[in-house]
């Protein structure tokens, strides 16, 4: 077994996340699928750090985690404000930027 299997697992996880973004309607679940895609990319970065023998990939994964945390805060706040105005968490209902 070589570390390639980690890359294959990461590819499958990323695809599942992408399908979830395309298929699901609940905005919070769509957001969770984006988190899954970010995690898959993190796994890729960690695996490449191991393959290349440097720590740069791990540091990059760390930065991805920081950006994901910031993104989650802003995204969930946007979802909450959309829910306050439209009483719905479905991405189909948020088809207008105002009202």
């Amino acid at each position: 077994m070589s570390p390639t299997y980690y890359l294959l697992l990461s590819a499958l996880l990323f695809s599942i996340g992408a399908v979830g973004v395309l298929v699901r309607r609940n905005a919070v679940v769509v957001f969770m699928c984006i988190e899954l895609m970010l995690n898959a990319v993190n796994l890729t970065l960690v695996t490449f750090a191991r393959i290349n023998g440097t720590l740069d990939g791990q540091i990059m994964a760390f930065f991805v985690m920081v950006v994901a945390a910031a993104e989650v805060v802003v995204g969930l706040a946007i979802i909450m404000s959309i829910f306050k105005t439209r009483r719905s968490a479905s991405v189909d209902d948020a088809n207008l930027l105002k009202y």
Partner: protein, 300 residues
């Protein structure tokens, strides 16, 4: 300098990383578990179940990071992702309404099937490309980085504060912006109440019917309840001293009080005497012999 050249000479001598049996077992247990949890996250109807399946996926990925010589990232994954981010997701789910399930109405016809096909095609493309191009790659391994110079965490911290100092500072700006943005977005859309200024309130009071504040409820020897009306100097009840809520809810129970305070009917003091009057003779005429002896002694 000689130490450096010695280290550089040693560097190729570090044995290439091999995937051991324990790591293979861990991968083949946790990898399919992570995949199954990810599938269950996409397929489950309830959003809360989706969040919990995603927590399982992230825990498996954290364990895989640790197996892959990234212990710091493994713990950060568990602490930050499953501990903080997913709990934030659950909080928002509870706020947004956890039973807001997906609508089954398709806005774009055939969009789900198309999305599914695109996802499967993308996965096949990715797996094919990665599997063909990276079949026999020999990993260099992180043994040197994780054993020398203080280990994994110290080495990550060192290069974070030297080589990656500027991106690290940029993340602080990003986090501040995200925190402020989250607060603004979550708290900004309250209903805009038009707050009147002090001058407007003064003018409204002077032009209104009553300039003084409303009288508070009455406080008497017999009652200090907020439901007791205050008395005007001439002895009549000040109706304004009662709040509208109390007057509307306990009007029936208040009518006797209003009557007694306003002079009609029996006054509170008379009522108190009337309550006490039958009790006093009974107390005096009580037979001392009928009481228990111990109680009698203890009272005296």
């Amino acid at each position: 300098m000689t130490v450096l050249t010695a280290v550089l000479a040693q560097a190729p001598a570090v044995p290439a990383d091999v995937v051991g049996t324990g790591e293979a077992v861990t991968f083949w247990v946790l990898g399919p578990l992570a995949l199954a949890a990810a599938l269950a996250m996409v397929l489950s109807r309830s959003a809360v179940h989706s969040a919990l399946w995603l927590v399982l996926t992230m825990l498996c990925l954290g364990a895989l990071y640790m197996v892959q010589q990234a212990p710091f990232l493994g713990f950060v994954q568990i602490i930050v992702y499953t501990g903080a981010i997913m709990m934030l997701f659950l909080f928002v789910l509870m706020l947004v309404g956890r039973d807001s399930s997906d609508s089954v109405v398709e806005v774009l016809r055939g969009q789900r099937v198309a999305g599914l096909l695109a996802g499967v095609g993308f996965a096949a493309l990715l797996v094919g490309a990665v599997g063909r191009s990276l079949t026999d790659v020999a990993p260099a391994g992180l043994l040197a980085q994780n054993t020398t110079g203080g280990g994994n965490v110290a080495n990550i911290g060192r290069s974070l504060f030297t080589d990656y100092l500027f991106p690290f500072e940029l993340t602080s700006a990003l986090l501040i912006t995200a925190a402020v943005g989250g607060m603004v977005l979550a708290f900004s859309n309250h209903e805009r109440v038009t707050r009147s200024t002090q001058r407007e309130r003064v003018q409204a009071r002077i032009r209104g019917e009553r300039m003084s504040p409303l009288p508070g409820p009455g406080v008497f020897a017999t009652a200090n309840s907020v439901a007791t009306p205050a008395l005007l100097p001439d002895g009549t009840v000040a109706r304004e001293s009662l709040s509208d809520i109390i007057e509307s809810t306990t009007r029936e129970s208040l009518d006797a009080d209003v009557l007694s305070v306003s002079g009609g009917g029996q006054s509170d003091h008379e009522a108190a005497y009337a309550l006490r009057a039958p009790e006093a003779p009974a107390d005096e005429s009580g037979d001392p012999a009928s009481r228990p002896a111990g109680e009698d002694d203890s009272q005296r």
